[in-house]
């Protein structure tokens, strides 16, 4: 068995008296894409924040063999006073690697916008910058918290394809939180369906389909029906 990039075991995570996460065990392998699928407020974002190290107060264990882990938030969260270029190199202050930033700008399809300020960008473009900022540190794992939930359906599809391309090109494993069944199935190798509160992993669906995928693939439709059934049983929908 190859070594896991991330090995997360959360026995219990509580906010005040409410147990949010209960007995969750999840591993992420190199170059793998895994989705956590569940309704809003089921604790999947909390799980992601635990993995990112933003949430340190929990019972359990987080083993990280990946080295660099980057996070893409639900909103772009760009610094409005910095240009696109400076935002992408944000973690390196002003000594950022200009060539690498320029390459990332091209890769996310924002050529010509290096000097633009965030206020001049649309929601989808801003999220591209956020993805590029995540990639700047050359991470092995990219954590994404409902990254495309704030953009329209067509932009979302484009961004999903972009994300897959980038993950492929830079050999990055993805751990994605989403409440969009189609998105989870389209992007990931494994979909973990979460229970309602206190949430645990209810079922694991393997999406055994090569990339690039066809959104109309019958297997995706079958898996969608399956996950919807699971979500219904969990009284999520």
């Amino acid at each position: 068995m190859t070594e896991h990039l991330l090995d997360i075991r959360v026995e219990r995570k509580t906010f005040a008296a409410t147990t949010v996460l209960n007995n969750i065990h999840l591993q992420l392998n190199p170059r793998e894409a895994v989705s956590l699928l569940g309704p809003s407020g089921c604790g999947k974002s909390t799980l992601l924040r635990i993995v990112a190290g933003l949430e340190k107060d929990f019972q359990g264990e987080l083993r990280n063999n990946a080295g660099e882990v980057a996070f893409v938030f639900q909103e772009p969260r760009l610094m409005p006073w910095l240009t696109v270029e400076q935002n992408i190199g944000f973690s390196a202050d002003n000594q950022y690697d200009k060539a690498w930033v320029a390459q990332l700008i091209e890769e996310v399809g924002l050529g010509g916008f290096a000097q633009a300020l965030p206020k001049a960008l649309s929601g989808g473009m801003a999220q591209r910058v956020a993805i590029a900022r995540g990639l700047y540190s050359r991470p092995q794992v990219l954590l994404l918290d409902e990254p495309f939930s704030a953009v329209d359906a067509f932009t979302r599809m484009k961004l999903q394809d972009l994300l897959l391309q980038l993950a492929e090109r830079h050999a990055i494993a993805l751990l994605l939180v989403t409440h969009d069944v189609d998105e989870a199935l389209y992007l990931s190798d494994r979909v973990l369906v979460m229970d309602n509160r206190p949430s645990s992993i209810r079922q694991e669906l393997a999406v055994d389909l090569a990339h690039p995928r066809d959104r109309r693939d019958p297997l995706l439709a079958r898996l969608k029906a399956l996950s919807l059934t699971e979500l219904q049983r969990a009284h999520v929908i």
Binding site: L54, M79, P80, G112
Partner: protein
């Protein structure tokens, strides 16, 4: 490249010539009302509807001003300017230090905020007698009074600016493991800058107000002295001339701050009013 970048809208290019034109038009619109008032006043005084010992004609005020400019005016201006700048510099920098301290630390807030809230509720001019008793009637008491006046708006806006910073942006810094100092320099300071400028500008305008208060009470030079001198010698033209100089200086100092604000805060995505043509 396998990049599937889609065609994106070209960067916005601003129609520069038209904008320039509009700026001039806006300026002309702003001048219309003052020019009208001056003309009406000149007319009303000249035909004798208003006695000129109470309301001198604008042209007389202009004459007085040019007379003053050949003599004592510069002495008064430099005395006042020095006081305002010194008082503002002291008050505003102390305010920035305390605002940063209180804004960044709950502990400091618990200790300091009630005291500042108490001090703030004292109308600042109530300090005047005390300052005169303690510090005498020379420069120190005036500068301290101006510093007190400038302190509170800068302090209040500073604290509010820091507390208004989007937690989500701060989290990005925490995500990268930024140290406290780096967090302040890279996120907190730039994010608080709009509020800080608001504070500095209102602090500056209060500094001018307190300057006049200080100089009206006890001074041998300065624009406030010119005001009270004009009153004592029944020369409304001198009073008006002093008022005009004060207005110009206030506008200039605010203009410098506004210019800096515009320069440093060009990134803000804010509503800037709608023009009549839209």
């Amino acid at each position: 490249m396998t990049s599937k970048s889609k065609t994106l809208p070209a960067p916005l290019t601003l129609p520069a010539p038209r904008r320039l034109n509009n700026a001039w038009k806006l300026r002309l619109k702003g001048l219309a009302l003052p020019v009208l008032i001056i003309l009406v006043l000149e007319f009303v005084v000249r035909i004798g509807w208003l006695p000129s010992y109470q309301m001198p004609a604008p042209s007389d005020v202009a004459l007085t001003l040019s007379d003053l400019a050949e003599g004592a005016l510069w002495k008064h201006i430099s005395a006042s300017l020095l006081r305002v700048l010194l008082g503002f510099a002291i008050g505003a920098s102390l305010a920035l230090v305390f605002a940063a301290w209180v804004g960044l630390s709950r502990e400091a807030e618990a200790y300091l905020e009630p005291t500042f809230a108490g001090l703030r509720s004292i109308p600042s001019l109530a300090w005047v007698p005390l300052l005169l008793l303690w510090l005498g009637i020379d420069e120190t008491s005036k500068i301290v009074l101006i510093a007190i006046g400038a302190f509170f708006p800068v302090y209040l806006n500073g604290v509010a600016a820091i507390r208004d910073i989007d937690r989500k942006l701060v989290e990005v810094g925490q995500m990268y493991g930024f140290s406290r100092a780096r967090l302040v320099r890279r996120i907190l300071l730039p994010a608080a800058l709009p509020g800080l400028f608001t504070g500095l500008r209102s602090g500056m305008s209060l500094a001018w107000m307190f300057l006049v208060a200080a100089e009206l009470i006890a001074a041998t030079k300065g624009l406030g002295y010119l005001l009270s001198d004009g009153r004592e010698t029944s020369r409304p033209d001198i009073v008006l001339a002093a008022i005009i100089v004060l207005a110009v200086l206030g506008k200039l100092s605010d203009g410098i701050l506004a210019g800096l604000e515009k320069r440093f805060l060009a990134w803000r995505d804010t509503f800037n009013g709608q023009s009549a043509e839209d």
